[in-house]
């Protein structure tokens, strides 16, 4: 089954390229999402042996992020089936500066979506640091055309920033990989293996200064892709300019993949008994990210950028949780689940809002509850979920991390964490509440009834995070504990 996982989206990409009509292409996209999700679900039922000579191998952290990517992709694919029907080819007018533009061909867009899933699958399903690197670079290349779907100046600017910042970042992560090989260099041994199974047992004997250097480069390299401040500059631009379903995938799945790259390095450092060093760095970057997000969320006038900065915040929380260690690592794993579901839903909903109002301004998109009642309810619920209100899942995971911070004796970090969360809560609540209430802007066209393809996927995602807030199944707790243990025990 593991062999088939990356092949399914690859075959779908070829099929999409070969098909002539748009309808069948969208069907292939949804089918690829369904088959992939079914296969991923199967890996939970049947333990998987390593595939392709050990290059693909599933462990708990990889499986967790794979399941998130696959589930979110399915939701985005179903949403895309409705979204693409409205994106007719031909010249259009940019609603912001009035310039003429065209969309990229739908064939290319759908193909890149499939390739993007294949690349993310490779990233999640490997325990080889070189394969992981190749996979992460492939995610950048397959997602860049997705950001540039609406071919106008601003999306081009965002794509270029994304390409350059992430490519340079990933090049630095390659340097980190090389430094890992230096750390593990043994002139009498069989040569440098980048397989975690070989590295972890020998980590205690590796050269410590080189391990430290390698971790720093990997943290900065993959961190720029993950959106950790101060390397996050591409993130708000790319998320605000890409089609909303792409933003959902970037935020809910891609950032996790980059985080997994950092987690793999963290595994090696924990196995080498250097968790203190790596933990401090993760806490530092986590708090800087949360602080940066807090600064930019307040007064933010663009609701998609608002969501993007919220992603910077949540990536900071993930880094912080893993850096603190202990129970917070479990909290971070749970947080990754809840953040992906919630942020995916919010970006999909923001697509519905953008489609009606043709503006990304929180000040102009008003009267949502009158115009789009279901979307409006989802927007409000998603907002409550993302800022950590009960009874949604993020409340539970943020509380778990806070408890672990207090128990582990990190009062300063805990205080900053609470202050930043409070600032972001206030900063986000004003624009969201303003959008939901108030009169419809006079120029708005009569809203059509909401189509199920536009509201069912975010509804399903939000329902899942609501369930995880109310009740965490025993099997899931055990699985997340295994993922957390694999990271902090270096196993």
């Amino acid at each position: 089954m593991l062999e088939a996982l990356p092949l399914v989206p690859l075959l779908a990409a070829l099929l999409v390229l070969a098909l002539a009509a748009d309808g069948p292409r969208r069907a292939v996209l949804v089918a690829a999402g369904l088959v992939h999700a079914a296969l991923v679900a199967g890996t939970f039922l049947v333990p998987q042996a390593p595939a392709y000579g050990g290059l693909l191998e599933l462990d708990a952290p990889g499986q967790l992020f794979l399941a998130l990517a696959s589930g979110l992709f399915l939701a985005a694919a179903i949403y895309a089936a409705g979204y693409l029907r409205h994106e007719t080819p031909g010249p259009k007018q940019d609603f912001q500066d009035g310039a003429a533009f065209e969309n990229a061909p739908e064939r290319i867009f759908t193909m890149c979506l499939c390739l993007f899933l294949a690349a993310m699958t490779v990233v999640c399903a490997t325990r080889n640091l070189s394969v992981l690197w190749v996979g992460i670079e492939a995610t950048t290349l397959s997602s860049a055309p997705l950001i540039y779907f609406h071919r106008h100046r601003r999306s081009l600017e965002a794509t270029w920033k994304y390409l350059v910042i992430c490519s340079v970042g990933i090049a630095l992560a390659l340097l980190g990989n090389i430094l890992f090989s230096v750390a593990f260099y043994d002139p009498t041994g069989p040569g440098a293996s980048m397989q975690l199974a070989d590295m972890l047992p020998r980590a205690g004997m590796a050269a410590k200064p080189w391990l430290k250097a390698a971790f720093i480069f990997i943290l900065v390299g993959y961190g720029s892709k993950m959106g950790l401040a101060p390397m996050h500059n591409w993130l708000p631009d790319a998320h605000s300019q890409s089609p909303s379903l792409v933003s959902a995938l970037l935020s809910g799945a891609l950032l996790n993949c980059a985080f997994l790259g950092i987690l793999r390095a963290e595994q090696v450092l924990c196995a080498a008994g250097m968790a203190d060093f790596s933990g401090e760095l993760l806490v530092l970057f986590g708090l800087i990210s949360m602080g940066t997000a807090a600064i930019f969320v307040v007064g933010q006038g663009d609701y998609k950028r608002l969501l993007a900065y919220s992603s910077v915040e949540h990536m900071g929380i993930l880094a912080l949780g893993v850096g603190i260690g202990g129970g917070a690592t479990f909290g971070a794993m749970l947080h990754a689940v809840n953040h992906s579901l919630t942020k995916g839903a919010l970006f999909l909903v923001s697509g519905n809002i953008l489609a009606l109002y043709h503006t990304r301004s929180c000040h102009d998109a008003r009267g949502l509850s009158r115009a789009l009642p279901i979307t409006s309810a989802l927007w409000m619920a998603g907002f409550l979920a993302i800022v950590g209100s009960p009874p949604f899942g993020i409340f539970v995971s943020e509380l778990t991390i806070l408890k672990a911070m207090l128990a582990g004796g990190h009062p300063v970090a805990a205080t900053l964490y609470l202050v930043f969360l409070a600032i972001i809560f206030v900063g986000m609540s004003a624009p969201v509440a303003r959008m939901v209430q108030g009169p419809l802007p006079p120029a708005t066209r009569q809203p059509a009834p909401e189509h199920w393809l536009a509201v069912a996927p975010p509804l399903a995602l939000l329902a899942a995070t609501l369930v995880f807030g109310l009740y965490l199944p025993q099997a899931m707790t055990a699985f997340l504990n295994r993922a957390a243990a694999a990271i902090s025990m270096g196993g």
């Binding site: 290349l141 540039y148 601003r154 965002a158 920033k161 390409l163 350059v164 090049a171 090389i178 090989s181």
Partner: protein
């Protein structure tokens, strides 16, 4: 060893030249020189046992870095109607001084770092580090998007140089897929460049100012 050291010295000179030259076309040609020099490195680094592996890698580097990239860059340059003179944020003289400072720093660092004995031949580490410095300088200190691509390439070449002595045994296809990834990256950047030049009527990244907070 004589030949190897001359290759490394030549690589260092190419790096400084990247910072000093004022024409885009010269810079594109320099990537070819750097690629061809790099193709020698796997051959000269190879131990007695793994010549087949080293030869395959050297040929791949020659094809991708020595021919592929320069061809892509030259094609892009000839299709874009751009001002052939590089416009720097950081002047050419200052850039060169920064490059020399980077070189001195990496030479000093080589004497300070606890390298595993026998891993890196002398001069390889400074050559690689200077290349990375140069690349990053080109990315941040020049106006044109094309120089950012060339800078990315130079930095990547430095990282590749550092990795070559470690690549030794087995998994040659992994190194090949790294090369392929970088090739596709430059290809995608090339496509983006065409769109930038068409949409903005320039490849000056200074015009990218509509997205900010």
């Amino acid at each position: 060893m004589e030949l190897f050291e001359s290759v490394l010295v030549a690589l260092i000179c190419v790096n400084l030249a990247y910072l000093a030259f004022t024409r885009l076309r010269t810079l594109a040609r320099l990537t070819a020189v750097q690629g061809i020099l790099l193709a020698w490195v796997p051959l000269l680094c190879a131990g007695p046992g793994d010549h087949g592996h080293a030869l395959l890698l050297a040929l791949a580097v020659l094809a991708i870095k020595g021919i592929g990239f320069p061809w892509l860059l030259a094609r892009t340059l000839s299709r874009l109607e751009v001002n052939p003179v590089i416009e720097p944020y950081l002047g050419f003289n200052l850039s060169l001084v920064a490059g020399v400072a980077g070189l001195l720093f990496s030479l000093w660092l080589e004497t300070r770092l606890p390298f595993p004995p026998g891993l890196f031949p002398p001069l390889l580490f400074p050559a690689a580090l200077t290349s990375i410095f140069t690349g990053l300088t080109l990315v941040v200190a020049r106006h044109k998007a094309l120089t950012q691509v060339i800078g990315y390439l130079a930095a990547e070449n430095g990282i590749f140089l550092l990795g070559t002595p470690l690549s030794g045994q087995g998994s040659v296809w992994l190194e090949l897929s790294v090369l392929l990834d970088v090739f596709v990256a430059v290809f995608v950047m090339g496509i983006a460049l065409h769109h930038i030049s068409k949409t903005f009527e320039s490849i000056d990244v200074g015009r990218f100012c509509s997205l900010r907070d």
